[in-house]
Amino acid sequence: MTEPLLVVEKLAMAYRQSRRRLPVLAEVAFQAAEGEFLCLVGPSGCGKTTLLRLIAGLERPEAGGVYLAGVPMDRPRRRVGFLFQEPRLMAWRTVAANVALPLEISGTPRVEVARRVQSLLDWVGLAGFAAAYPAQLSGGMAQRVALARALVYDPQLLLLDEPFGALDALTRERMAQELLRIWQARRKTVVMVTHSVPEAVLLADRVLVLGPRPASVVAEVNVGLPRPRGEAVLETPAFAALARRVRQALDDAV
């Protein structure tokens, strides 16, 4: 097997609250191969968001480290795309300008920016909204703009922190399908945190189950379902069995 793209090595992390030490992560370790789709599930408040922030280099661990293609993520690096729970769009920028933001920061030539923004907006189905402002968008549309922004600079790794958590059930299912479609075409390495077991099984190559705080990886479920996975896969017995296994692991962990 080739060298994994992402190596998370025995990460430990604690928050300090006025002299009290609150351990969040205890020895979290896993790897992700290039092009792999990984889902993290775990009881709420177990430190999943903290884990993603550590991988992105937004926080420093107490022990252990994160390596992306051999480079330590000891500070934020543009090689990572981060899709947060909320869209986090800039209200004063149009949809196109929001998607262009990462390229503006990296100093990409204007013509190239326009071309890439256009193609990404086409991808997420928002070409007609380039000149709209975030306040005019629905929740699902705003999150699609955020996804386009995270993909526009072609990062090596995509981190998704419950990206559909704030959306209604119907939009959520549609967004999951859309994410699958985009991932299939672009084959990004993805680490996604989710609360939804079916969503994890539908999307992931592997599901990692985290235990309660301080968290560590307590179980791993390989999802061998064939791709592309349409909505029909949700009805198959194989899908149900995998979902049951993940849920069982979650129950055991608590």
Partner: protein, 264 residues
């Protein structure tokens, strides 16, 4: 679709015209009422001149060019003071917003400086910097300083951790953090402060001119008072109102220009 839009715009234009019509009507009505009070009360012109007398005085001042001269003097003081005060207040406010040590160290003095009335400081500034333009500019700058400082601090602090995180993930440097995030995010609150500052700056210039001056609209007012030329005082007040309105209106225009996204 197109037809309904132009209909909507026609409706808007009609309402706009009505709006201005009402303003004009109330203005004319109050002038008539003013003249009526003068006639009915039989006041001498040095107590209450009628609008016609004031208009006559205005025409005189326009004709001999002195009105432009004094207005220009005051306008220059106001603009220079507003610019200087805004510059210092935004730079210092940005520093205070980012450093709690600086805030704890400086804010007692800043608040204390606000409890001293500007009329008490103005004579000191005249002693130090002379009776020329500089002392008036400094009075203006001092008076606009505080509201703009406070609004800068509030504006910069209102930039959420969420967008800061995003900018960090994208490896934005300090300048990009400032220009692409902090300035546009703080701009609505900052322009709010500038609106308050714009009207205060006119007060500052007049206060400065009251203390010591040989030109400017404040000087005209003082002259009018000393000579019982009450029409002159009225002309001065009217011009000051127009001046303040114009500067305020300019800031409102800036707001419309920069904050178009809020109307979306």
């Amino acid at each position: 679709m197109n037809g309904s839009k132009s209909e909507y715009e026609q409706e808007r234009a009609r309402r706009g015209a009505m709006h201005w019509g009402w303003i004009l009507f109330s203005f004319v009505a109050s002038l008539i009422a003013w003249q009526g009070v003068v006639w009915l009360g039989g006041y001498p012109p040095f107590i209450l001149p009628g609008p016609l007398l004031v208009l006559e005085r205005l025409a005189e001042l326009v004709a001999d060019g002195s009105l432009w001269f004094h207005t220009w003097v005051t306008l220059r003081e106001v603009l220079a003071g507003l610019g200087l005060g805004t510059l210092v207040a935004t730079i210092l406010g940005y520093g205070l917003a980012h450093s709690s040590v600086a805030e704890r160290l400086l804010s007692p003095y800043i608040v204390a400086s606000q409890s001293v009335p500007i009329v008490a400081i103005a004579p000191l500034l005249v002693i130090w910097f002379g009776a020329g333009m500089l002392s008036k500019v400094l009075v203006c700058a001092l008076i606009v300083f505080f509201p703009i400082l406070v609004n800068t601090v509030v504006g910069v602090r209102s930039v959420g951790r969420e967008l800061r995180d995003l900018m960090q993930v994208l490896e934005a440097n300090r300048w990009q953090m400032l220009w692409l995030l902090e300035v546009p995010a703080a701009l609505p609150v900052l322009l709010g402060g500038l609106k308050v500052g714009a009207t205060l700056a006119v007060i500052g210039a007049v206060v400065g001119e009251f203390v010591a001056s040989d030109r400017g609209l404040g000087y005209l007012l003082k002259q009018g008072q000393q000579l019982y030329d009450t029409s002159l005082v009225f002309v001065g007040i009217a011009v000051l109102v127009v001046l303040a309105q114009t500067i305020y209106g300019t800031v409102v225009l800036l707001e419309r220009l920069f904050l178009r996204w809020r109307e979306a």
